[in-house]
């Protein structure tokens, strides 16, 4: 925060010019996003090392903290290869299309409420205050598929094409569940505005993770699929597809795909925090100042980011037909039923705590009765049609 805010203190509330404020916030938040994404690459290796009882990168800087920087420099100096027969324009466009939507989506995340330093008011700690920020985020998640499809298609390589097709089929399938889970939240809190959703949870004290357990679980699972993360990382699936849709990419273009993936993870973590954990709210405390809210928000989002890494290094990868079965036959119907029940509870004005009880009462016996693993031969028949 600028120093002159304190020195120029006056009795009335002051504001910076709008453009300056926007640029300042955008610089701050984008810097934070890119910094977090870079640190995530290091965290990925550190956490994997920790889980596998290794040390991990520790040569560049203290605790290996400068490793992302070294990686970046290395990427820049690598040779850029455009394969023969590739469509040059689209080949170059794909990494951009993959990185940009994730970066744009961060603009509406409300990290904290009204920021006030002395007599200066800086508005809420988010770049854009949009009434329909949920739809905005949804639209951008939809657009992020193009980078993967185009990257796979334009490379003129079998592995890339297959990887791109798989990844985009997966992203489309799970996007439905993701958005339906979000819609339940929207119904619950009665707004399409991320700020209002977070504020509503903070004021009632009932976070959606408690009131909407089904939507929460669905969102978290779909979040993994949507960012192409393990156990759903069919986009790269090394043993089957060499490297998936980015097999043919090298140098900074490859790095851009990864930047996009990590930015998407950060955005998804922030969204999950806002939708289900009440943003920067703490339980049983009604009003928090922004300097409390921001660390609380970051801590919650970081726990989701850690979950991403934790799952990656502990769970095995799904098979492709299992992925599609889970998406279309389990998660989508569940999300629809959950949306319906939420709508009914909201319309009839019942107590929202009825829903977790109902979920436990219905889902646990259901899972016990029908939750047996499918016989392998039966599920394999789907593969010919899907893959």
């Amino acid at each position: 925060m600028p120093v002159e805010a304190v020195t120029l203190a006056d009795t009335t509330t002051k504001e910076l010019p709008l453009l300056v404020l926007w640029l300042f916030k955008a610089g701050l938040i984008y810097g934070g996003l890119l910094g977090t994404a870079a640190l995530m690459t290091l965290a990925e290796r550190k956490v994997s090392a920790w889980i596998q009882y290794r040390i991990g990168p520790n040569r560049v800087g203290p605790w290996g903290l400068l490793q992302p920087l070294a990686d970046g420099v290395k990427f820049i100096f690598k040779e850029e290869v455009v394969p023969d027969g590739a469509n040059p324009l689209m080949f170059r466009l794909a990494p951009i299309l993959s990185a940009v939507p994730a970066m744009l989506a961060i603009a509406v995340i409300p990290f904290a409420g009204e920021v006030k330093i002395g007599d200066w008011s800086f508005g809420t700690l988010s770049i854009a205050n949009l009434d329909i920020s949920v739809l905005y985020v949804g639209a951008l998640t939809g657009l992020s598929v193009y980078g993967v499809i185009l990257g796979g298609w334009s490379s003129n390589s079998k592995y890339s094409l297959l990887g791109g097709l798989r990844a985009s089929a997966q992203m489309i399938s799970y996007e439905l569940t993701l958005l339906l889970a979000v819609l339940s939240v929207v119904l619950m809190n009665g707004s399409l505005d991320l700020r209002a959703i977070a504020a509503d949870q903070a004021s009632t004290g009932m976070w959606n993770a408690i009131v909407q357990p089904v939507a929460f679980v669905l969102f978290v699972i779909a979040m993994f699929a949507e960012t192409n993360r393990h156990p759903f990382d069919f986009a790269e699936c090394e043993p089957e597809l060499v490297g998936g849709f980015h097999t043919e990419y090298s140098s900074m273009k490859f790095a851009l795909f990864f930047l996009g993936e990590y930015c998407a993870m950060v955005v998804m973590a922030c969204l999950a925090t806002t939708f289900f954990l009440g943003g920067g709210a703490l339980p049983f405390i009604a009003e928090l100042a922004w300097y409390v809210e921001l660390p609380v928000f970051c801590a919650k989002a970081s726990s989701f980011l850690f979950l991403f890494l934790w799952v990656r290094w502990t769970l095995p990868r799904f098979r492709y037909d299992q992925l599609m079965t889970l998406g279309w036959q389990v998660m989508l119907p569940l999300a629809l039923v959950n949306l319906f029940v939420t709508g009914a509870v909201v319309a009839l004005g019942w107590h929202p705590l009825l829903m977790p009880l109902l979920a436990i009462a219905v889902l646990v016996p259901f899972a016990l009765l029908f939750g047996r693993p499918r016989p392998r031969s039966e599920s394999l028949t789907h593969e010919g049609a899907a893959g």
């Binding site: 009434d131 739809l135 949804g138 939809g142 598929v145 499809i149 097709l165 489309i172």
Partner: protein
């Protein structure tokens, strides 16, 4: 500034629209269509219709076009190119089809235009700003209930029709080899 942006975006939308029809590669057509949709969404945004812009990107660019891309990628590209060089449908039939579709589209535009004029005369303006979602929802579920439902049924019918067509084709192709794909 806004006007300049509007003209730029409109020009882009029209240019990419031509690109959709003019380009030979279906992949480029779809991408041009994507650019058209994005330009349209930006025009909506420029006029203050945030909801429409988001819906445009969410529904068309995010969902429908991706499906287009899928179909095109799954079809064999060389098949498509030979199909374009040796069309299975005769030129006369193509002309009739094009004429019918254009007439239909023009008629639709005329009807919609008339409807829009009527609507703008009769519909109450929203209390503050055009973009209140409650206002759109209220209109959609009261005044425009019938067209809304009708278009939903139309889409459903189209979907079923496509399914029927796609399903019927398969046995013909497998039983009478070489007859369909001339």
């Amino acid at each position: 500034m806004a006007q300049l942006l509007f003209y730029l975006l409109s020009a882009a939308a029209i240019a990419f629209g031509f690109g959709v029809v003019a380009s030979k590669s279906p992949m480029k057509s779809v991408l041009s269509l994507l650019a058209t949709f994005v330009a349209l969404a930006m025009i909506y945004l420029l006029s203050g219709f945030q909801f429409l812009a988001a819906a445009q990107l969410l529904v068309y660019a995010g969902a429908i076009l991706v499906l287009f891309l899928f179909v095109i990628m799954l079809l064999n590209m060389s098949d498509l190119e030979t199909l374009a060089e040796h069309p299975t449908v005769s030129l006369g039939h193509t002309r009739v089809a094009i004429a019918t579709v254009s007439a239909g589209v023009l008629g639709l535009i005329a009807i919609l235009g008339a409807g829009a004029v009527q609507a703008s005369e009769s519909a109450a303006m929203p209390p503050d700003g055009y973009d209140k979602i409650e206002w759109i929802a209220a209109l959609l579920f009261s005044r425009y209930m019938v067209p809304f439902q009708a278009s939903a049924i139309l889409l459903l019918a189209t979907m079923i029709g496509v399914l029927v067509l796609a399903k019927r084709r398969r046995p013909v192709q497998t039983t009478e080899l070489g007859r369909v794909d001339a």
